[in-house]
């Protein structure tokens, strides 16, 4: 049981992949929702799994490299987590609980959603830039992720139409890329270990 839990924790970073895919598909989801239901809200009501999966993936990543991470990386992680929680809370509050439909001058749910997006982008950049060089995430995975997060930051700041939608998609792809880099790096590491072990056995024989 303990081994299973350890395995799940070790690889839960992969959840960034489905989370990122869902995120990247959002503009298409909004389009379909508008087309089918004449409102984007049907899609947004179902959006929360995307940030939730990313959140779980991010926690998984952090757990794997927590021993190596510095203060700034931890801050970046916490900021990104905060952003994701705000997005999830905003989405639930806005589209499930209808908080903003009662008295909406301050629009707490909507504001939480929009501010959460910005917080997430800033946290993601900080997290990636300060991630430990010899941690579980390779540089070739982190740098495109930083670029994706920058794209996200721009698209979250204001509505940029189709261009903004492309940037939004790139933000999602950044998370997919990060998750995949974890898989590739893990698999490479597994192969290296296996070769070393085999080499060691062969040398002994």
């Amino acid at each position: 049981m303990r081994r299973l839990l350890s395995f799940v924790l070790k690889w839960s970073g992969i959840l960034c992949v489905p989370g990122g895919v869902l995120w990247a598909l959002s503009p298409t989801g909004v389009y379909i929702s508008n087309y089918a239901f004449h409102t984007p809200n049907v899609f947004w009501k179902m959006f929360w799994p995307a940030p939730l999966l990313i959140l779980l993936g991010l926690i998984g990543l952090q757990l794997r490299q927590s021993g190596l991470s510095g203060l700034l990386e931890k801050v970046g992680f916490l900021v990104a987590v905060l952003g994701l929680l705000m997005i999830i809370a905003g989405d639930i509050g806005l589209y499930w609980l209808g908080i903003d439909d009662i008295y909406i001058v301050t629009a707490p749910a909507y504001r939480a959603f929009r501010i959460g997006l910005l917080v997430l982008a800033v946290g993601s950049i900080l997290f990636a830039v300060t991630s430990p060089r010899d941690g579980v995430l390779p540089t070739w995975g982190l740098l495109p992720f930083v670029l994706g997060s920058l794209c996200g930051l721009i698209s979250f700041a204001r509505d940029l139409g189709s261009f903004g939608a492309v940037l939004w998609i790139l933000f999602g792809i950044g998370w997919v890329w990060l998750g995949l880099s974890l898989v590739v790096e893990g698999f490479s590491s597994f192969l290296r270990t296996r070769r070393t072990t085999r080499g060691g056995i062969a040398a002994k024989q």
Binding site: I102, I104, V105, P132, R133, A165
Partner: protein, 496 residues
């Protein structure tokens, strides 16, 4: 933490990764980057924010000094007074330009119509006043912006000038109802029965022929009215109340209720006239004839004023009906309500009756302006800021955190609700046809567009503007014309 240095190997890895990513995008069928941009939907952010509804009520020709809340002690406006107590009230509101259509252009666009550059009459029979034209094609309206923000836009109006050919004040509204028949709306053909009504109508003065045309059409339009519900203000506010029930299902909504009464002709049910006049012999002064008022006897002028006041009270009564409906539906709990008038009307003050461009006195240039916030912000407070028609659109957008259109020139007055100042406005300028008007803390001045025939008044000692002191203060006149009017106009004013 381990020191991070980007090595050449790292760079090559990232470059390789980027190339792979690009390949992935290509493989996913995105084609070129430009093509993918074209294919991507343009909506990607959740909508929301301050989604309170907005109701904007325009009451045409309502003088500021004809409301109890502004100090009047004889006219009955209980609903307007009650609304004012729940609202932030501006005590120095003036239209940036007048009359009707110019004020509405500014309200709809947030752009000043002053100083009427590039104006031309839009068709032969259109009103021949400088700046009187539809909203120019390149200008974006408040309703169009709110449409993009997901608002459901509704408009009810009997302000007939908006029904004329080419007029486009209903741009951006999902539904609009034109209540037909006001004033000289070409609604019904003239008949012998309507002609008979002319016999008891007082026509005369400097614009007699125009007044006669108006009244001939008006009587034709209104023949056969039965109950009070058939009058115009009742029709407008009843229809607006009906719209409210539908709008409740389409929140957030923006509703414009543009009510023409108490604009002339003043023809309210007798019970309202009896509130202010107890007997009159002779043809009824139902409409003015803009110009000097000396063609009217004192009793005719008083009767005209009483009929106007009666129509103010009627409009107030039916506004109350509309507000009650909004209250019953719970809409006021989540709706910002702005109410303003576009200009006033003279009844013999300073020797004029009607709306005379060369008589820009308080009875014509002072308007009412309330903002009722659902959260009670600013309730019962007053502001001395110069509030105006072109501030409406920026104020509505600002209160909801919606970005204003870069063309907009007005100020966001919603900050006043929070006790802040909207930005310096040490003086204010306005215009009506070939005349310009300006004021600051101490003086008010109006003149022809080129500065000729100036009238200057000391507002501290003469707030009703009775004593023209222009001849003894030429430097003040010159300063106000050059530093206020010409500066605000961005150069010499055009003339036509």
């Amino acid at each position: 933490m381990t020191k991070r240095i980007l090595t050449r190997r790292d760079f090559l890895k990232v470059a390789g990764a980027g190339a792979a990513g690009a390949t992935m995008l290509g493989a996913a069928g995105c084609g070129t980057f430009t093509n993918s941009l074209m294919q991507v939907p343009d909506e990607y952010l959740p909508s929301g924010g301050s989604r309170m509804n907005v109701i904007l009520v325009i009451i045409d020709s309502l003088r500021r000094d004809h409301l109890g809340v502004y100090g009047n002690d004889w006219i009955k406006t209980p609903n307007l007074d009650a609304l004012a107590k729940e609202s932030l009230r501006f005590d120095r509101s003036h239209p940036e330009s007048l009359p009707t259509i110019l004020a509405r252009r500014a309200i709809h666009t947030g752009i000043r119509t002053f100083p009427f550059r590039n104006w031309h009459k839009w068709y032969e029979d259109d009103v021949n006043l400088w700046g009187w034209q539809p909203i120019p094609q390149g200008q974006v309206t408040l309703a169009e912006i709110l449409l993009g923000e997901g608002f459901y836009n509704l408009m009810v109006t009997d302000t007939l000038h908006q029904f004329r050919p080419f007029y486009d004040m209903h741009r951006g509204f999902h539904a609009f109802d034109f209540i037909r028949g006001q004033e000289r709306d070409f609604f019904r053909p003239i008949s012998p029965a309507s002609e008979k009504k002319m016999e008891n109508t007082l026509i005369g003065g400097p614009s007699a022929s125009h007044a006669e045309e108006i009244m001939r059409q008006y009587w034709a339009n209104t023949i056969g009215r039965q109950g009070e519900e058939d009058w115009f203000a009742p029709q407008v506010f009843t229809k607006a109340a009906e719209y409210l029930e539908m709008a409740k299902e389409s929140q957030p909504f923006f509703m414009l209720v543009d009510n023409y009464d108490p604009h002339e002709p003043w023809d309210p049910p007798q019970k309202y006239i009896d509130l202010y006049s107890d007997g009159f012999e002779g043809p009824e002064p139902v409409t003015s004839s803009s110009g000097p008022s000396d063609w009217l006897t004192e009793s005719q002028l008083k009767r005209m004023h009483a009929r106007y006041s009666a129509e103010v009270t009627m409009a107030d009564h039916w506004l109350g009906h509309f507000l009650d409906k909004a209250q019953d539906l719970g809409i006021l709990d989540n709706t910002m309500l702005i109410l303003l008038s576009d200009h006033g009307h003279a009844f013999g003050e300073h020797g004029y009756a009607g709306k005379v461009p060369g008589a820009l006195y308080p009875e014509l240039i002072d308007t009412i302006f309330f903002i009722r916030h659902p959260g009670g912000k600013g309730a019962g407070k007053t502001s001395n800021h110069y509030a105006s028609t072109h501030d409406i659109a920026p104020t509505i957008l600002g209160s909801m955190g919606v970005e204003r259109h870069p063309q907009m020139e007005g100020q966001d007055l919603s900050v006043v609700l929070d006790g802040k100042e909207p930005g310096p406005r040490p003086h204010f300028t306005a215009a009506y046809h070939d005349h310009v008007w300006t004021r600051d803390e101490k003086y008010a001045m109006f003149s022809l567009y080129n500065g000729d025939d100036p009238h200057l008044f000391d507002l501290e000692n003469d707030p009703k503007m009775d004593k023209n002191i222009a001849s003894s203060n030429p430097a003040v006149v010159k300063k106000m014309f050059n530093e206020y009017i010409i500066k605000d106009a961005g150069g010499p004013l055009p003339h036509y």
